[in-house]
């Protein structure tokens, strides 16, 4: 890029007040993040730390480097010339070894995808262009956009702007949020949101705090708020062995959601161990918590019990 285009790329957004968001990924043809065929945008940065999380790359709001060992062909192209022979690409994912800008420059020399920058800043209008590529599929299937995370409400301004534009274009909007957020923000986002998909992970706030890092009072308050606002709600509970895989814990949640007029569905989602690859690739091995796989028979039993308590219960 020449000098002037660089300057222009910095100044232009300021002139036109372009809003930017930090995301990890855009997944088209998403089939399980709301109705119809959807495009799901994963934002980067989360205020919770659920011990069973499958997406640790969305925790930090900072750019990160990931190293996928299986893609490394040991070509040494990433080895900074100045460093000594004790360099290995996996060092880039360790905190404090290299600054992020140094790491990004090094990662760019990797052509195999072994070293990659996790996180990307996108302007709303750029994102809209990508989303609109699947417009015809949304229209035919009743789908649309879902913003997921991480926690999207940490970037509320971005979410509002994206949804506002989507609504202007007649695109259905859904958000997957933990709702641990200021109620004013929730209200503002709700203005442009057709559907909220929210987890109630545990009923007991202390346990909630133990397993996610935060209590659930705010979550429940915001769910009630959205219900009053008449917003469609899909509530889910991820069922994790040793955490909440018992009827006592789940039935309190089921009873609570059963009272919500705007509840579309309540679901249990079985915990699947997808391995620890992502944690390792990001140098986050210390954060790994091991859980057992939930048995199908036990999960079915829990589903049957919840179906008795909640009339909008949806079996998986």
């Amino acid at each position: 890029m020449c000098y002037f285009s660089r300057i222009w790329s910095v100044l232009y957004p300021i002139f036109v007040n372009r809003i930017m968001g930090r995301i990890t990924q855009i997944q088209s043809m998403s089939l399980h993040d709301g109705p119809g065929i959807r495009t799901t945008v994963f934002t980067k940065g989360c205020n919770m730390r659920c011990a069973w999380c499958h997406n640790p790359e969305t925790w930090s709001s900072k750019l990160q480097i990931q190293f996928l060992k299986n893609k490394c062909i040991d070509c040494k192209a990433c080895y900074p010339s100045a460093t000594t022979s004790d360099f290995t690409p996996s060092l880039l994912v360790r905190p404090n070894q290299y600054s992020i800008s140094e790491s990004i420059t090094i990662a760019e020399s990797c052509y195999t995808g072994a070293l990659e920058v996790v996180g990307k800043d996108v302007y709303v209008d750029e994102l809209l262009k990508t989303i609109e590529k699947d417009r015809e599929f949304f229209d035919e299937s009743g789908g649309g956009i879902t913003i997921s995370g991480g926690e999207p409400l940490l970037q509320a301004e971005f979410v509002i702007e994206v949804f506002k534009k989507c609504k202007q274009k007649g695109i259905h909007t859904a958000i997957e949020s933990n709702l641990h957020s200021n109620s004013e923000i929730v209200k503002k986002v709700a203005e442009y949101t057709d559907l909220f998909m929210v987890d109630i992970k545990l009923w007991d706030s202390e346990k909630h705090k133990k397993w996610t890092g935060l209590g659930n009072e705010l979550v429940l308050e915001n769910i009630k708020l959205l219900n009053v606002l008449g917003k469609k709600l899909m509530i889910r509970t991820p069922v994790v062995p040793g955490v909440n895989d018992n009827v006592e814990e789940l039935s309190s949640i089921a009873k609570f959601v059963n009272e919500l007029d705007c509840l579309e569905t309540y679901e249990l989602l079985p915990y699947h161990s997808l391995g620890n690859g992502k944690y390792i690739a990001l140098g986050m091995e210390n954060e790994i918590t091991k859980f057992d796989q939930i048995s199908k028979s036990h999960f079915d039993y829990l589903q049957d019990e919840m179906a008795l308590l909640c009339k909008k219960f949806k079996k998986n």
Binding site: Q25, I26, Q27, S28, M29, L31, H32, G36, I37, I73, D74, C75, A77, Y111, T112, G113, K133, D134, E136, F137, E140, S141, G143
Partner: protein, 718 residues
């Protein structure tokens, strides 16, 4: 719903499985359709009668002598559990050591055929559609009358007389095969001890006696007549084209229902037997001449029968605006439930609009139906060479690339490369069309279309073979192969050399010539491979693909000749030739290794984008349609997350949107990845696993390991 016929169908399914296993044991693996053919008995096997010193047979006399001899000696096949008699066993056209009479030299075309790796189609047969309605109206007796009538009118010379005599002999010999089968049914009746099966055999006997000469009257007779025709036609030269099955059989169904001689359970059983007989390409649904929907109750029963047999099936649903939505939904439910790669879907809008661009009217365009692997045909009206003639655009690219490099690295650019590519594409397409022209001149003397002539409008009336002026229309197909391979190659060169400057032409050429050898080679290969590829809707690869497709399409159209009645129609399709065409190709700038397969049909290469979204692939493929009524199919490989009941509506939305955007044909595999990997390791574990290879389905266990690997890669990477 369980019916009294289910046990019989189960026996037939098991038998079919055993027949497939036998075929693999006796004949080895084969990267092709199942065709419903069974291995002939080892004892007293039939052998061809050569009429040429090269050991092959040619010309109308040779073909007639061979066919009649085979028909008269063909083993009979009767199963008391089956509603119908007959199976075919001898691949007569494949038994020849040589396809084309050496005296008809096309040496003048060979340099270009070689240079551009053209599948020339010379001496290739069938691949146009008979009109079964004509056969059902006339019966064998009526066809014989027709032959004799026109012989009296037209046979003014020896050649024409021989033409008619040969057709007459062919029909008489088919009747001998049926007569022999009738004898066998009688023998089976005598030895059958189960009362119900005996009754079934007695009915089978009556059906066959009734249609030996006369036109079929009942539903079962109509099905059996179609079976005899296609068994004969398959034996003669593979054929395999079907028709619009639901409307074809509907009058017989209605008549029998009104007369109270059949119920839906029996119809489903008979259809199940009909479908297990041969995975012929049948279309269902779709518009009539005026655009109204043709779906009827029988369309549903055919799906039900398909569900009961669930073998290798090539049923196509023609999707149009007026299509019965319940029918579409039911078909998708079965696709998802059975995961056996059927049915497939054909997009009416683009096919009709495209075909009309050749100058045909809407009513005729709607009659052009999906009856072949990738292909469309007007039953009984056209000679097409569908899916027979292909040009490896990868080779055209390679010739152009070498020319650019010979001109010096400093002068190299994608603009220059494209200009030279265009130059060679012009020559390549013309050479391909010349091959077809040669075939149109010579094929009648090499291999007349004895069987398909019988159910076409024109050959018998005019005394001319369908390949040589007998047919009403000559809509001649030329398919391009390797679109994604070359579009991605152009895109990678543009992005990595010209825009990013990450590599020079010289460095790239070094790695191409060395087939990406060494760690550095692999690094550069990955760089090129991870470029902005075709399949993302608006990527560099997509832009190149559109440009190339438009160019190719126009060049093919330019070969048309109104005076001669030759209308050339472009398509993108590689059939199962992705492996063979790839072997003829050195390493390409998209990061492909030398001799690796080229891209599949109109599909992007697997791994075309990070999220691998079917929506963007569907849109990309819709954008590169050649646009004259032949297809550029989308091959969809979906994992089990799609195979849930709640995804039916999303899948329907995907189909409809692809077609709205201009798509022409969708082939689908819904695959359990674990199962396919296990089957790859040990195919005998899943003898009934069916995959859609391209337009056709095949038993996975029948494929060669190399081809199985290709299918596995495609599925896993998507």
């Amino acid at each position: 719903m369980k019916t009294k016929y289910d046990d019989r169908i189960a026996v037939l399914r098991k038998k079919k499985q055993n027949q497939t296993e036998d075929k693999i044991q006796i004949e080895g693996l084969l990267d092709e359709d199942d065709y419903g053919r069974i291995a002939p008995p080892k004892e007293g096997a039939w052998e061809i009668i050569p009429n040429h010193e090269d050991g092959s047979f040619y010309g109308v006399q040779g073909w007639t002598d061979n066919f009649c001899d085979l028909m008269e000696k063909h083993p009979t096949y009767v199963d008391p559990n089956d509603a119908f008699a007959g199976r075919w066993m001898y691949f007569m056209s494949k038994m020849r050591p040589n396809l084309f009479k050496p005296e008809f030299s096309y040496d003048h075309l060979k340099p270009e055929i070689e240079k551009y790796n053209i599948i020339d189609g010379i001496g290739f047969d069938a691949h146009f559609a008979p009109d079964y309605e004509l056969g059902l109206k006339l019966g064998w007796g009526g066809i014989l009358e027709k032959i004799r009538k026109y012989r009296d009118v037209n046979a003014k010379d020896e050649e024409t007389k021989l033409f008619y005599d040969s057709h007459e002999r062919a029909v008489l010999s088919i009747q001998i095969w049926i007569k022999n089968t009738i004898k066998e049914i009688k023998r089976k009746i005598d030895s059958e001890i189960d009362a119900e099966l005996k009754t079934n055999l007695v009915e089978m006997l009556t059906v066959n006696e009734n249609i030996l000469n006369d036109a079929p009257q009942s539903f079962r007779e109509a099905c059996q007549w179609i079976i005899w025709y296609h068994l004969a036609s398959r034996t003669y030269n593979r054929d395999g084209a079907g028709g619009q099955l639901d409307t074809l059989l509907y009058p017989f169904y209605l008549k029998d229902k009104e007369a109270g001689i059949i119920d839906d359970e029996a119809v489903v059983y008979q259809l199940a037997c009909f479908l297990i007989n041969d995975p012929i390409y049948w279309q269902m649904g779709g518009p009539d001449g005026k655009g109204g929907d043709m779906t009827n109750h029988l369309s549903y029963l055919i799906l039900e029968a398909g569900d009961k047999v669930n073998t290798s099936l090539n049923l196509t649903i023609r999707v149009h605006d007026q299509l019965d939505q319940k029918f579409l939904k039911k078909s998708v439910e079965l696709l998802i439930k059975n995961k056996n790669a059927w049915p497939r879907y054909s997009g009416d809008k683009a096919l009709v609009e495209g075909f009309m661009r050749n100058g045909y009217n809407e009513e005729l365009a709607r009659k052009r139906i999906a009856v072949g692997c990738n292909w469309m045909s007007l039953p009984g009206l056209e000679y097409t060479m569908n899916d027979l003639v292909k040009i490896n655009t990868g080779r055209v690219f390679q010739v152009a690339y070498n020319e650019v490099i010979d001109g010096g690295f400093k002068e190299a650019s994608t603009d220059k490369l494209y200009a030279i590519f265009q130059k060679h594409l012009v020559i390549g397409v013309k050479a391909t069309a010349d091959c077809i022209r040669f075939q149109l001149e010579q094929q009648r003397y090499n291999e007349p279309e004895l069987l398909l002539n019988l159910l076409s409008y024109g050959p018998l009336e005019k005394g001319l073979d369908a390949s040589a002026g007998g047919a009403a229309y000559y809509n001649l197909a030329i398919d391009g192969a390797g679109l994604a391979t070359i579009a991605d190659s152009f895109a990678a060169l543009q992005q990595r050399i010209e825009e990013e400057g990450k590599i020079t032409w010289e460095e790239l050429d070094y790695h191409l010539k060395g087939n990406w050898e060494g760690t550095d080679g692999e690094r550069i290969r990955q760089l090129m491979n991870r470029s902005d590829r075709y399949g993302q809707v608006d990527s560099r690869g997509d832009i190149w693909a559109k440009k190339i497709s438009e160019e190719f399409s126009q060049l093919v159209k330019n070969e048309s000749d109104e005076e001669k009645g030759h209308c050339f129609i472009p398509g993108w399709f590689s059939w199962a030739n992705t492996v063979g065409l790839g072997k003829a190709l050195e390493a390409t700038p998209n990061g492909r290794f030398a001799k690796a397969p080229i891209s599949h049909g109109a599909n992007p290469h697997p791994g075309f984008s990070k999220d691998g979204a079917a929506t963007s692939m569907a849109k990309s493929i819709a954008q590169i349609q050649p646009g004259y009524g032949n297809t550029a199919p989308m091959q969809l490989e979906l994992d089990l997350s799609m195979a849930k009941g709640d995804q039916v509506d999303n899948f329907i939305a995907l189909i409809k949107t692809h077609f709205k955007l201009g798509g022409t044909l969708i082939n689908v595999n819904i695959v359990d990845q674990k199962k396919i990997l296990e089957a790859h390791r040990d195919p005998s574990k899943y003898p009934d696993l069916v995959v859609r290879i391209t337009g056709f389905t095949a038993y996975f266990a029948m494929l060669t390991p190399e081809f199985r690997q290709l299918v596995v890669d495609r599925i896993l990477e998507n």
